[in-house]
């Protein structure tokens, strides 16, 4: 059999494939060759084949048949083989494969290998598997592995012991309780760490940064609070120490280690007063001395701020932290602005006053181009609104609502309503704000806000005339925004008499006649833009006006339809999906025809006969139900809660069968097909 092609050749060949199919073909051919090569137990080219397999795996093709081969490679004496073998094992295996169990022996042997680089190498696969349950197997099966770990630091140089310890602690940490022997675990970890510390403290200036680094990573235990002073000293040395080119990033010495130490200090000082006090100075020092011209400096400052926020720091320090965040907000780099806004959001609850000082900068961020920044700024602005700044903030927020993306409008609108409800300085201002939201972002307002708004309006008794007038004017301008239309028609229905009477204290009263009002409401009913819910609202409004308006003649002209509408209901048959659907078909003759003729459906009756209707429907049990959600299934139902015959009289508008063009866009397509209707009734 000819030598298998080299990895490079394979990669080059696959890259020349022009289509997915071509690539798949090439891969399959190569896989077949590799498989037969594996079967032949070819030692020379095994690592080449596995390397090729790994490439194909990265492209997304199955490579499980190579797992056992990885094991063989690991067991080989050649360094090249081992390297690729371990890489393959890391990429191809997970805890579900039993193959990894077979590797335990290999790893144990390699741990004692003469070359330190082999051992150092093992740290990576060890790390890869440490999280997984195989760690449990290994430790459960052999306390020996843990023993090996313990012994290593004593034997080898620092480049090896650090990964060992890191992974040792991590492995110990991850073993589930059933396999843990807590004392042993503690002991192992503590032993490793103490050995580390001895080395660090013995070393001059702690220059073996990596050892420091790893030890710091390990010290995530609250036991080690007593080490806080030493950590503080190390950090101080790091900042003060001279230039070390290999650890340096843009003039800052070993930022990774600095950030790690700060993170550790954060964990250690979290709910501990003493530790926090010990850290105050160094935190202030780092915060003031770090260069902020590059991202690195800002990264360290950010970590410092997070630490200050989390520990029990003194108030001066906290103010310093928030000022740093405020400075971040003015930075040109949008990443930093984003990070600042996120952190401020987290601290606004606890340090409200300090954050308030940066309010204007935050509000400016609303105008930023980046979407994530805008969202954060919006959330933060809402958090900062209070009784004092409500007017100013609301102006900015409403301006933002005007110009923001549609994704934001719903959240912004609810935020505005919420804030207005809590802090409104006057009722008129409140109503004005609501009007503004409804007119600018009316279609994005949440469904439940309509009833809330209505309730709000009813509560402000003295504003009724003003409200209804403004809503009426808004309605004249634009009837496409459903929530606005719904609220307006409800108000007109309730307070139409105030509208017509021309009394308004807050602003110039307008002259409106009853006919004009009814025209508008009728217009809503027949408009293509109105959803079924909206039509329900306007219908109810018209009905109510029949009691409030004096010119009932207009309404009376539909009297002739009353008998037809209110005649005995036909027998309802229960269908599999829903019963009442049938009603629409059978007694719907009166309605579709009336809709098609574009006249007002006959549902209003004069006040004097309202009682008759109530009697017919069973008296006080009648509850008008106007459904607001989901809008596409709206029907105006007068439903008896209990009555002699137990029937429900259902008057459905916008019967989908007859007027498909008027169905709300959300309704499923099959609704537009002819009968039988299979849509569920709400």
């Amino acid at each position: 059999m000819p030598a298998p092609i080299r990895l490079r050749e394979l990669i080059r060949t696959i890259r020349t494939a022009r289509t997915q199919a071509e690539e798949r073909e090439m891969i399959q051919k190569e896989c077949a060759a590799i498989r037969s090569s594996f079967r032949e137990e070819d030692n020379t080219y095994r690592c080449r084949n596995v390397a090729k397999l790994l490439y194909m795996h990265m492209l997304g093709y199955p490579a499980h048949f190579g797992q056992l081969e990885c094991l063989k490679l690991i067991a080989s004496q050649k360094f090249t083989d081992k390297r690729i073998g371990y890489l393959g094992a890391m990429l191809l295996l997970d805890e579900r494969q039993d193959v990894h169990l077979l590797m335990t022996n290999c790893i144990k042997n390699d741990l004692n290998h003469s070359t330190q680089y082999v051992q150092a190498w093992l740290s990576a696969p060890w790390a890869a598997w440490a999280h997984q349950r195989c760690a449990e197997t290994w430790l459960g099966g052999g306390g020996e592995t843990a023993e090996n770990l313990k012994l290593l630091p004593e034997k080898k140089g620092s480049s090896v012991c650090r990964p060992r310890d890191q992974e040792g602690a991590r492995v110990d940490g991850d073993v589930p309780p059933s396999h843990q022997k807590p004392a042993q675990r503690e002991e192992t970890t503590v032993n490793c760490l103490e050995l580390q510390w001895k080395e660090i403290l013995g070393l001059n200036k702690g220059r073996s940064g990596s050892v420091l680094h790893t030890s710091v990573v390990l010290l995530m235990l609250s036991h080690f609070r007593k080490l806080v002073p030493q950590l503080v000293r190390i950090l101080k040395n790091l900042i003060m120490s001279g230039y070390s080119p290999e650890h340096d990033v843009s003039g800052i010495s070993d930022p990774f280690l600095q950030v790690r130490i700060l993170r550790l200090l954060r964990i250690l000082g979290r709910s501990d007063d003493d530790s926090s006090e010990a850290m105050n100075d160094i935190l202030a020092q780092v915060a003031t001395n770090t260069e902020t011209s590059k991202n690195v400096g800002n990264a360290i400052l950010y970590e410092t701020v997070l630490t200050i926020m989390d520990i029990k720091s003194e108030s001066g320090l906290r103010v310093l932290a928030i000022n740093i965040l405020g400075r971040f907000l003015l930075n040109n780099d949008k990443n930093i602005r984003y990070v600042a806004l996120t952190s401020l959001l987290k601290t606004v609850q606890t340090d409200h006053n300090a954050v308030q000082r940066h309010r204007s900068t935050i509000v400016d961020c609303l105008k930023d181009l980046d979407v994530s920044i805008k969202r954060r700024a919006m959330e933060l602005s809402f958090a900062l609104v209070n009784g004092n700044n409500i007017r100013g903030m609301m102006k900015e927020l409403l301006y933002f609502l005007d110009s923001c993306d549609p994704d934001f409008k719903a959240d912004c609108a609810s935020g505005v309503f919420h804030a207005a409800e809590k802090y409104a300085p006057s009722k008129r201002w409140h109503i004005d704000t609501i009007m503004r939201v409804l007119t600018t972002a009316g279609s994005y307002v949440r469904d439940d806000s309509v009833p809330n708004l209505i309730q709000l309006i009813t509560n402000s008794v003295e504003m009724h005339a003003y409200t209804v007038q403004r809503l009426y004017k808004a309605l004249l301008d634009d009837i496409s925004q459903q929530p606005l239309v719904q609220v307006s028609s409800w108000c007109i229905g309730e307070y139409g008499d105030l509208l017509v009477s021309g009394q308004c204290e807050e602003e110039e009263p307008i002259q409106v006649t009853e006919d004009e009002v009814l025209d508008v409401l009728e217009g809503l009913l027949v408009s293509n833009m109105s959803s079924p819910v909206t039509r329900g609202y306007s219908l109810t409004a018209i009905m109510k006006l029949s009691t409030r308006f004096s010119s009932i003649n207009r309404i009376k002209k539909y009297d002739h339809m009353r008998p037809a509408l209110l005649e005995r209901m036909p027998i309802m048959e229960k269908t599999a999906t829903n019963g009442p659907t049938e009603i629409v078909q059978t007694n719907g003759e009166a309605e579709p025809s009336s809709l098609e003729s574009k006249t007002l459906p006959p549902v209003t009756q004069p006040t004097s006969q309202a009682n008759d209707l109530l009697d017919l429907l069973g008296g006080n049990d009648v509850v008008p139900v106007i459904q607001t959600a989901p809008p596409h299934k709206a029907c105006l139902c007068w439903r008896r809660t209990a009555g002699p015959t137990g029937r429900s009289l259902s008057i459905r508008w916008a019967d989908p069968c007859s007027s498909p063009a008027r169905v709300h866009p959300h309704s499923p397509a099959f609704l537009l097909d002819g009968p039988p209707l299979t849509a569920p009734l709400q």
């Binding site: 050649k78 990573v217 990774f256 990070v339």
Partner: protein, 154 residues
């Protein structure tokens, strides 16, 4: 760090390093979703995005996107530095002006370098020199297949 992905502008994966245990299927799903999300971002947008319950940091270097997922309490800005340090290491190793092709044809080397630098998702060696030295030594340990050193090993 939970995982690091490298992918091209066309969405082809060049390197994937997972520091959390996930099944193969889940990995594929996560990769696909994340690649789509990151590629959809406009150039002027922020390098951070929130995805599921993780923070995703991404940075584009020439035709390659470097994408890391970190947990909520980790520092995003230092992750950017970690990404940059890795790129610098690759640059030094591949003899300046490293490009995507270098990573495609020498993906195993890219993995080796990453494993020298990051361990279990954390930076384990903060000195550039030491990382490169370690890789160099390891390379020397590799048995040459051919008397001419220019020929690739596999």
């Amino acid at each position: 760090m939970q995982f690091m992905l490298l992918f091209s502008r066309q969405g082809k994966l060049r390197l994937q390093k997972w520091y959390v245990p996930l099944s193969d299927k889940e990995k594929k799903k996560v990769t696909r979703e994340l690649v789509q999300t990151v590629l959809a971002r406009k150039p002027k947008m922020c390098s951070f995005l929130e995805w599921r319950d993780l923070k995703v940091i991404y940075k584009r270097y020439a035709s390659l996107y470097f994408c890391c997922a970190i947990e909520a309490q980790e520092n995003e800005l230092i992750t950017l530095e970690i990404i940059h340090r890795y790129v610098e290491l690759l640059d030094k190793y591949f003899g300046s002006q490293v490009c995507e092709l270098d990573i495609i044809f020498n993906f195993e080397k890219a993995y080796f370098i990453l494993d020298e630098f990051l361990l279990g998702g954390e930076a384990q060696e903060t000195s550039k020199k030491n990382v490169l030295k370690a890789i160099e030594q390891a390379d020397l340990l590799q048995e040459p297949r051919h008397e001419y050193f220019n020929v690739p090993v596999y």
